[in-house]
């Protein structure tokens, strides 16, 4: 073995022979599990309406006002949308006109009226022009630069093609989508959706009314009247209509006026507040970090308090090597504690959530592995940061306080609901707390206006980018510790 291997071996022996330190690391792992347990048993949503699931397995919001007729086989529908007006609550009793950028009015072909069913739609929006959307998560922009108000949707088998036109003479194809498994009979017609309006740190339900003209249908539409109704009125992602409003449609002389609320979109945290996340199951990460910080800082500061550091450095005069050996041992132990704790906590938390009827935003197996490894890496890196602070301060209270303030305090501040988004986003970018991004499993959608803050589970940095911020701090602190360890007398 090399001399460095001997130093690492010695530091490992040192670590494992102090019962309190081993207990502290075991406690870190247990805290992850205990918080998962608490999160699991404290929430009970048995009997809550099911969350609509989209074609790709993700949770969706599927609530809108639908004016429809069955379409059995191929066909087409054309209409103009000369007006789309939205209203936002000015106070609980009154509405005022406002802009809802993703308010939608247009034509749709949908497998059925069941929430979560496949669809393709072409629409005008409150602020984003003509769009063609399908499968809840797909969004295609229509022709830019022209105020296209004429829309057309054609069905041919399972292929749905959307067109837009400004004058009725020149049509631009926006896109074609295939609705796999679409049966012969689908529901087609007009729709209006009006997602919640983002106002400051919250959202409030909006309602929109669209005027439709020149409605023409071709092909195999069922004869008879148009049927109006709210899709997904009971679904958990639907906040309902503002006071004194409701979904409705009227027809007079070929002109339709449709009022609707809700959205057809992937569910985000704000629209599905009852949904849990992997990050919430791993809330114990911050507590585990505190345990790791205390153990890591004490493992070096106690050496200064007792004078043991002189024995250590007399046995290993290569001071950088001693510091590196300590970092390797602590980092490895913290990594294992995080890995074991998170690997137990995640399935346990998911199981309890399922048993209690709590919907958890689904993640792929790869994401689950990434989150568990992320927690382990977070604990390991913070242990190196705390070790370095211990070597710099040579004082337990100073080292522990500094690292807790640097790492855990930003997380706690980010967890305050009324923290301004600018502040929490800043904290999640520049402080070591940015590394909590490893817990995120939610992704923001450009076509859903919502509140994407760390509090809601959305971090400004990608998981490993956030982790890299912490790693930068840890490496910097380790370098400072190494320099000071060399310069100062032991």
């Amino acid at each position: 073995m090399s001399a460095f291997a001997h130093v690492v071996h010695a530091e490992w022996t040192k670590f494992r022979t102090v019962r309190g330190w081993v207990a502290g690391m075991v406690a870190a792992a247990l805290l992850l599990v205990v918080f998962a347990l608490l999160a699991g048993v404290s929430s009970d949503q048995k009997g809550a309406p099911p969350v609509p699931i989209g074609p790709d397995g993700g949770p969706v919001t599927d609530s809108f006002y639908f004016v429809h007729r069955p379409l059995t086989g191929d066909g087409a529908i054309t209409a103009s949308v000369p007006a789309l007006k939205s209203s936002i609550p000015a106070d609980p009793e009154h509405l005022r006109p406002g802009t809802v950028p993703w308010a939608k009015a247009g034509l749709i072909v949908k497998e059925s009226t069941r929430p979560g069913a496949r669809y393709a739609a072409i629409m005008v929006t409150g602020g984003h022009g003509v769009r063609m959307q399908d499968g809840y998560v797909h969004d295609t922009a229509g022709p830019a630069g022209v105020s296209a108000r004429l829309l057309r949707l054609e069905r041919s088998g399972d292929a749905i093609t959307g067109y837009a036109s400004a004058d009725g003479a020149h049509w631009t194809k926006v896109g074609t989508v295939h609705l796999r498994g679409l049966g012969p009979t689908a529901q087609g017609g007009l729709f209006v959706a009006s997602p919640p309006s983002v106002q400051g740190m919250g959202t409030s339900g909006s309602v929109s009314t669209a005027a439709f003209g020149n409605l023409r249908v071709q092909g195999h539409w069922a004869p008879g009247d148009w049927t109006g109704g709210q899709v997904g009125a009971e679904s958990p992602g639907f906040a309902g209509y503002p006071a004194n409003t409701s979904g409705a449609f009227t027809e007079s002389g070929g002109r339709f006026t449709v009022t609707g609320a809700g959205d057809m979109a992937p569910a985000v945290r704000e629209t599905l507040p009852t949904g849990g996340t992997l990050g919430e199951i791993l809330t114990g990460t911050f507590a585990a970090l505190i345990a790791v910080i205390v153990v890591a800082a004490l493992s070096v500061t106690t050496e200064y308090r007792s004078g043991l550091v002189r024995v250590t450095l007399a046995a290993g005069p290569g001071r950088s090597r001693v510091l590196a050996a300590k970092a390797i041992v602590l980092g490895a132990v913290a990594f294992v504690a995080g890995l074991v704790g998170a690997a137990v906590a995640v399935p346990l938390g998911l199981h309890l959530a399922e048993a209690n009827g709590v919907y958890v935003f689904p993640v792929t197996a790869a994401t689950e592995v990434r989150v568990v490894l992320g927690v382990a890496a977070l604990l390991a890196t913070v242990s190196v940061l705390a070790l370095s602070a211990g070597a710099v301060f040579r004082h337990s209270a100073g080292a522990v306080t500094t690292v807790v303030v640097a790492v855990v305090l930003p997380y706690i501040l980010m967890a305050i609901p009324f923290m301004p988004a600018s502040v929490s986003t800043w904290l999640a970018r520049v402080t070591p707390g940015a590394a909590f991004a490893v817990l995120q499993t939610l992704v923001p959608y450009h076509q859903v206006a919502s509140i994407y803050t760390p509090y809601e589970g959305y971090y400004p940095l990608a998981p490993w980018a956030g982790f890299a911020v912490l790693a930068g701090y840890a490496m910097g602190a380790l370098a400072v510790a190494a320099v000071l360890l060399h310069r100062r007398d032991a």
């Binding site: 022996t13 022979t17 450095l313 290993g316």
Partner: protein, 293 residues
């Protein structure tokens, strides 16, 4: 680092007028001696011209002496004379502004597995209170590539067996000294350096310690033992280095010191020591290096 090292050849010490010199510091201050080569290749410790300052306090001011193999060298002097600082410098723990401290001709920081070359006891072993004495020795052994057999051997040698598996936090000072001795002997080193090993020892322990130090020297090891009490050294050391005001103010064999003492009006060894260190004692009223702990 000075190109000419003031150094002391083992055995060439002087004690002229130890009891009568009006300026003990000047009388015993070592000057540049010839034949440094011999000292550099010697297996013991060679300390040459150490200077170190803590703020405005000059802790070491030209400390020079050497420690020969096969002898117990007592390192005495009042608190604040620079004994502990010198020992930390020898072990590469504290840096100096000037001077060198070599072990077998090498600086401590150049030693790969240093406990095979030098065993040391500082701060009464300073074990972590939550770790057993045996585990304290075990990690030290691992750091030197040694195994548990060596640990059990030195536990026996230091008389630590009954307490070895107890947490060091419950040890008496005497027990911690024994643990420190065990640690110092772990690598079976040719050089042993002990800072105040008699502190906290009960009478039995003191007798045991004396015997141990004598036997280490008789095995051919170079043994440096610091103490602030002359009495402890009288029956233990072959050679004495008296520190005062940051330098060696006397460097002589015990026999020579006693001979010098008997020449001056029936003074005792204690008197010699007190006279030698008188100015250093006054010096102690400033910030003492011992207080840093």
């Amino acid at each position: 680092m000075p190109c000419v090292r003031p150094c002391q050849i083992p055995g060439s010490s002087r004690v002229a007028a130890a009891a009568t010199g009006p300026e003990p510091g000047a009388a015993y201050n070592l000057r540049h001696e010839s034949n440094c080569e011999l000292a550099l290749s010697a297996p013991g410790i060679v300390v040459a011209g150490l200077r170190k300052r803590y703020g405005t306090v000059l802790a070491l001011d030209g400390m020079s002496f050497s420690v020969r193999p096969g002898q117990v060298t007592g390192f005495v002097g009042p608190n604040g004379a620079g004994k502990s600082t010198t020992m930390r410098v020898i072990l590469g723990l504290d840096a100096v502004e000037e001077g060198t401290a070599l072990i077998g001709g090498l600086p401590y920081r150049g030693l790969r597995h240093p406990l095979h070359h030098v065993g040391s006891l500082l701060d009464a072993a300073a074990p972590h209170p939550g770790r057993s004495g045996r585990n304290h020795l075990l990690w030290l052994a691992h750091s030197q590539g040694l195994d548990v057999r060596r640990v059990d051997r030195v536990i026996e040698q230091a008389g630590l067996a009954p307490a070895a598996r107890r947490k060091a936090g419950g040890y008496s000072l005497g027990m911690r000294q024994r643990l420190g001795i065990a640690a110092a002997l772990l690598g079976d080193p040719p050089v042993v350096l002990l800072d105040e090993p008699f502190n906290g020892m009960d009478p039995d322990g003191i007798v045991w310690m004396r015997g141990l130090l004598r036997s280490l020297a008789s095995e051919g090891r170079a043994v440096l033992v610091s103490s602030h009490l002359m009495g402890e050294m009288q029956h233990t050391a072959d050679h004495l280095v008296v520190a005062g005001r940051g330098r060696a103010i006397a460097d002589a064999s015990v026999a020579e010191l006693i001979a010098a003492a008997s020449r001056g009006n029936g003074a005792t060894l204690e008197d010699v020591y007190l006279r030698l260190t008188r100015e250093a004692v006054e010096f102690r009223t400033g910030t003492s290096t011992e207080d840093r702990k």
